[in-house]
Amino acid sequence: MRYLRLIKYFMLSSAQADLAYRANFAIGLLNSLLNLIVGVLGLAVLFSQVNTLNGWTFASTLALLGVYLTISALRGWFIGPSLEVLAGIEGDVWSGRFDFTLLRPINTQFFVSVRQWNWFALIDLALGLGAIGVATVQSGGAQPLSFLVAATASVAVLYAILLIFTALVFWSPGLLFTWVFDAIMQLARYPIGIYPGWLQFVLTWIIPVAIMTTIPATALTGDIQPMSLMGGVALAVILFIAASVLFRLGVRRYNSASS
């Protein structure tokens, strides 16, 4: 309960900061709309030339894009901004401000994961859910329950991967691991089958971004296998534990910076 109350306070204080820059709302709205328009137009160009892409129709690829946008929006809402404070350029680890984080009387991993909320990300969330809605109506046969389970597992996988990339900062503060991850995550906008074998292997087993979007998207279009749903959940649990362990090891390595 105490932790829920803390999340509320973090949310409120972030909202206050966001509200101070109200002009940013218009820019945020424009950015989100552009992101959606660019994605949908990209699909429109592609499907004006072909009917299916490696077995994926326009509706199922749109579902995939919707899932990608939704998950990215959840990331941009709090996971990304919170972890960025820790590991970004001039972040806490870099500058040594992490000392003050360690001193707080709450779980460190909890605190660094939820301390910053970007409320403009809710625009992205609405647009992503909109794309999912349109795709679902077009294809029919969605399995809402499987989708919710799969989507939750995906967000957990994303959180765990981001935490792992963030924790690497304790070993090498100069490198921008999360930027590398950002770039790789874009590959999940399209069905994994279009990539060559070695890249599919990387995107499934090493940095499982493809799983994050593919499993929920197949739940939306109705041809999800029970095995892949369970696999997704198992992966989420394993990665979450691994990331927490790695984060703890990283924190133990931390030996402050400057004065």
């Binding site: 820019i27 660019v38 160009v45 030339q49 892409l53 490696n54 921008l176 770039a183 590959l187 906008r189």
Partner: protein, 263 residues
Amino acid sequence: MNHRGGWALIKRSWASWLQYRSFFFVLAFGWMIPPLIYLFVWTTASEPAPIAGLTPPQFVAYYLVLILVNQLTFAQTNWTVGDVIRMGSLNSWLLKPMSPLYNAIASEVAGKIVMMAFVVPVSIILAIVLRPELTTTPTQVVLCCVALSSAWLLRFFWGLWLACLAFWATRADALLALQDALIFLLAGVVAPVALLPSAMQTIARVLPFYYMVGFPVEVLTGQLASSEVATGFVIQAAWLIVAVVLYRLVWRSGLKRYSAIGG
């Protein structure tokens, strides 16, 4: 014009940028990804039958060249010039006994060389793995070099006049996001321009963005008839003149307004 001082500046910027090479490698990696995605999208899509006469190995060649062209022409002026105006460090540029244009060119050259150190080896590896098919003639190579240089000039001056808008507005984020979206859709990244729906294709051939990226690529890969190449060069040159004029206008009137924020 103080060319010797300018050259010294270029060398200095290069040396200082080289220190941050991992940062630029990560940036370059990020910029490579969208064209790379569409490389795979179109090679998969064209596997059953060629699309608009292009086979999978030809799509590979198109996108690998596009990755190189996109990196070479990428405009960095938003943060090398725009941020300098916003933060007020333009003061030290103005005090130097040479045109501030040299500062912009210096960071341009420095950044490009550092990024090429990453992009060229990666492209070579990709070419070995993905097996592109590129048939080109010496004439096309020469024409491509010309198209590429003016594409770079066009994108540089276009970025520069946009960056100079920082004299009036402290944030031009919205405009830059719009420009990125237009380049993605119309410059040949999402698909070679010939594959776009006809309305989009017409817009793409009129606006300057295609001439910043897609045009030099297609000159090299030989997807254009010679009349199309000629028209392309004319439109490219016209947009280049527009960009230079806009830059001169915006720079001069902006400088009059400039009142040095910070130090």
